[in-house]
Amino acid sequence: MALSLKSIKSHFPIFTHRPELIYLDNAATSQKPRSVIQTITDFYEKENANVHRGLYELSADATQRYEGVRKKICNLMGASIPDTIAFTKGATESINIVAQGFLKKNLHKGDNVVVSAMEHHANLIPWQQVCKQTGSSLEIIPVDDRGELVLEAMHNLLNNRTKLVAVTHISNVLGTINPIEEIISLAHKKNIPVLVDAAQSVGHYPLSVERMNLDFLVFSAHKMFGPLGTGVLYCNEKFTRQVDPFIYGGGSIKNVEFTHTEFLDYPYNLEAGTPNIAGVIGLGAAIDFIHQLDLNETTNHTSNLRNYFKERLRSSGNFKFVGNPENSGSIVSFNADNIHPHDVASFLAHEHIAVRAGHHCAQPLLESMGVPATVRASFSIYNTRDDVDKTIEALVELKKFWS
């Protein structure tokens, strides 16, 4: 039976310790349910051992649990081969692996990589740098005033020198849900692989990498109720043999000589050094938690909160939305007229309301929209209409304070 959203807050210990907290910075990191925290504590207290190394029971158990999480991830996102899942530090590292370990050797002077204007720096800088390193060009799919991708422009950007398209599923600034299936189909018509940054969507929105015919997908555990420092790279089976190690060390090898190393196959070739075992097992616990939720109910809930927030903000006057996409996640960016986002966030912080202010690691996007910074509210399953009401009241107070 699905967990009830009415009592969902009680599963998150932070709200017991800080009952006054109104947490609207979920796009930065989600709070963690008790089951995830407990799983990590239990691992360190009762089960701690290294993986793939020891011949004793404790290590064998740790290995089994660690490896078992690849299957859980497959179930969560519609993949069928556990060995398509590599564990990384996070979405950022996953993207760097694809840029340096897969793309770079195929990228030559005159080639290009296509990204969108709404990318997080994590899905921009790795491509920008690999293009610089190889004399290739980075092409940008523009974003319109509503905060939606201009897909017609993408048609013109894709050509026979395009080696990869990298695009976010959900914008961390504007909340836009991008039509990734359409983007994938456009790219695949020209045999171009696609990487999707799903940091804002995995665990919150339905995704099926095989049905969507995805080539690469990346996400971080900490934005989906899991621990910090753990992430995932999904690589379609057809490319796994083309992804080379990004860092080198123990655990990733078949055979080492002083002058030569033979690496394990993907994904183990990427997991050099002792991995974040507790983090991966914690990610497994986060997936178990998500399986107890009714995903339709949770997306309805967060969409309703987003709509309610926008509606109330609109009628409170003098607030401007930054982007207003038709198909949107639970993220709203706005500005309070002449009051700087930082000052808005400080004011809200005094009412125990946590929002984000700044450029949200998407500086070029905001510059292209002519806004230096925004205030961002992002909703999750434990937020309530009362959270929205209190935030709106505080914003109305803020206007009075600054008038």
Partner: protein, 149 residues
């Protein structure tokens, strides 16, 4: 709640934020100092017209929160016309004051400086208050005559 925030956003800070001192771009300034905070996106440029010994004119332009904008405004107003040495001393005084190494009652602090006392209770705003001053300090240090120790 409002009381605490009033201590942060003092009338002097609000006044500097609303009408900052010498707030305009100078296209041909001899020196342009960039005061950028990549965390929050604040971006100021400080335009310096100085001789080898003195700051003749200071202007600034850009985007930032009320605290960073007001503190840059106080910087330009307090340093214009000062010798490079005096300007560096002002920088050190302001930064020491924000870092709580100078007590507010000390007579060397002007009212414009004291207006930032509230920042002491908002540690997350230290960077806002000191952004331009830290960059200005680097600039001034690079231009001070080297003393023999």
């Amino acid at each position: 709640m409002k009381g605490e925030l009033k201590k942060l956003y003092t009338e002097i800070i609000k006044a500097h934020n609303d009408a900052p001192f010498h707030f305009r771009k100078i296209g041909d300034a001899p020196h342009t100092i960039k005061a950028y905070n990549p965390i929050c996106g604040d971006r100021f440029e400080i335009f310096v017209d100085s001789s080898s010994t003195k700051i003749n004119a200071l202007h600034f332009h850009g985007f930032g929160c009320a605290i960073s904008k007001a503190s840059t405004s106080v910087l330009t107003r307090s340093m214009e016309g000062k010798s490079l040495e005096e300007a560096l001393e002002l920088c050190n005084n302001f930064l020491d004051f924000i870092n709580k190494e100078i007590q507010p009652e000390t007579s060397i602090l002007s009212d414009d400086f004291l207006a930032f006392s509230g920042v002491h209770d908002f540690s997350e705003r230290y960077d806002c208050a000191t952004l331009s001053w830290r960059e200005m300090k680097k600039f001034l240090e690079s231009r001070q005559p080297k003393h023999e120790n």
